[in-house]
């Protein structure tokens, strides 16, 4: 067994609508993979097929050599749904004890789990009184039960404050270090940037890009953005000298390709004292993401 999750040529249709088309992907043990895509790009559908909640139209998915939805696969996979919800009448402790029982684990593990996600104080309160972030932590606690080989996390950090997010990713790093594979989707691109090994971009049901961040940046070859701040009164002079520059709040923004970058910088320095500052911005993950997801639509 080389990879925890293997997906090959996966296609899912809902009637006439193709939700996923020919998606192939594999996740190795200990690897953290981020799944990016617009709403409706097929992220949740892909996750539901991996979990065996809905059948694929064609293609093959294996989880630790088992079929999705089989008893063996469900034992190996932990899931955190988007907007994790629980019955409001139960306490966090009761809910986690139930989930422990479903996985055949001892109920005494419930309290340590809740403490691990910072819910020790609220464990005996009803989930109905919890905030969204606290419910998300219950969801996280249940995903940590047992020793899952694959964690499927749908928007796991939505509703968490920045400090909790950092704690959450620290937990994930720990799991990955012990060999668990992690597949997560997120809208918070900046946190994904630092915390995952590989990025997969889905657009309209197709896998449009896959690789590490430097890898994707090189392939996209996106233009560089330059911010030029003018000295008082010289903004329009500079705008005339730099065709294509856009005047924003007394500063100018212009873009150029990687190869033109130095030449453009030279022209700007040639303007001398009219310029007070220059800032060079490489393409962000947001830019890469829009580049790859738009490319698929055309």
């Amino acid at each position: 067994m080389t990879s925890t999750l293997t997906i090959s040529a996966l296609t899912k249709r809902f009637g006439e609508v193709a939700a996923l088309t020919g998606v192939s992907l594999s996740v190795a043990p200990g690897e953290r993979v981020a799944l990016l895509g617009h709403n409706g790009a097929g992220k949740s559908t892909l996750m539901k097929i991996i979990l065996g909640l809905i059948p694929a139209t064609s293609g093959e998915v294996t989880i630790c050599d088992a079929a999705p939805g089989s008893q063996a696969a469900r034992r190996a996979v932990a899931y955190l749904p988007e907007n994790a919800a629980f019955h409001p009448a139960l306490t966090g402790l009761e809910q986690i004890k139930h989930y422990l029982a479903l996985r055949g684990e001892a109920s005494t593990l419930a309290m340590p789990l809740l403490e691990k996600v910072g819910l020790g104080q609220a464990a005996r309160r009803r989930i109905g009184t919890y905030s969204k972030g606290m419910r998300q932590r219950v969801g996280l606690a249940q995903a940590l039960i047992g020793h899952p080989l694959l964690l499927v996390l749908d928007e796991p950090t939505s509703g968490l404050d920045p400090v909790s997010r950092r704690e959450f990713y620290a937990l994930l790093d720990d799991l990955a270090a012990h060999g668990a594979s992690i597949l997560l989707s997120s809208h918070a691109l900046t946190e994904v940037e630092a915390r995952t090994d590989r990025i997969v971009i889905l657009s309209r049901g197709q896998l449009v890009a896959e690789g590490s961040l430097p890898d994707l940046r090189r392939r996209a070859d996106l233009p560089v953005t330059l911010h030029v701040t003018a000295r008082n009164g010289y903004a329009s002079d500079i705008a005339r000298a730099l065709p294509g520059a856009i005047l924003v709040d007394g500063g100018l923004t212009l873009t150029c390709t990687q190869s033109d970058k130095l030449e453009t910088l030279g022209r700007i320095t040639g303007l001398g004292t009219k310029v007070s500052d220059i800032e060079v911005l490489p393409p962000s993950l947001e830019d890469l993401y829009s580049h790859f997801s738009q490319g698929a639509g055309q």
Binding site: L53, I54, N83, E94, L102, V152
Partner: protein, 273 residues
Amino acid sequence: MIRILSTARIEFRIALRNRWVAIAMVLMAVFSLVLSLAGSAPTGGLGVDRLSVTVASLTSLSVYLIPLLALLMSFDAIAGETERGTLSLLLAYPIARWEILLGKLVAHLAILTLAVLLGHGLAAGVAIWSDQTSLAGLPSLFRLSWSSVLLGATFLGAGYALSSLSRRPSGAAGLAIGLWLGLVVLYDLALLAAIVADNGGWFTTDAFPVALLANPADAFRLFNLTASGATAAAAGVGGAADAIPIWQSLASVLLWPLAALALAAAAFRKVTP
């Protein structure tokens, strides 16, 4: 087994907090007490013990109340989980769908059984306290108790099936009320109307008994009235009890829970979260 028991325990706790346990117990207790106290009036005239009369009244009550309680407890079982968004996570766990259903059934049936035992216990207590000969009515009360639980199981299964078929709890509630009205209220009225129109023809002799056995609520009433020989104290459709052999109504009472639960399992299997 652990998974089923854990599901049952959690469902029981939810029902306890949602006051379903209290509602079921209070309803059964109040109605049983009222019937056993009011049932004293015709005793002397009929020459039967007081408990037997109470059992006949309780049978008529149970036909309405048990299905209603069962449907009220079960309509939310699947649709509620779908709407809350808890079903997709639950189905990702290593628990089979039939185990989920069985766990819920165990909890809901336990609540119904508690309510039935409380109500019937109170009724028996009142009857025996005021009339020593009422001990003779205990076997028919016991029969009423277990057949009430089976009737409950039938309508719990029907409720789970409706809950699986409709995507929302509000839709499931509507279907459940519709089923209750249809099977428990309108069905008998329709049969009576058909008999009056038929005037002793083919429908009355051939179709009517089958129609009664096909409805779990009517079969339940038939079985209890035939078995206790209390048809004299019953009115309406129950008056037909003598015409149908007891093994037939017993078979219907025993088979309906299985059929309803099979239906529920089949409907739940089609649910995609």
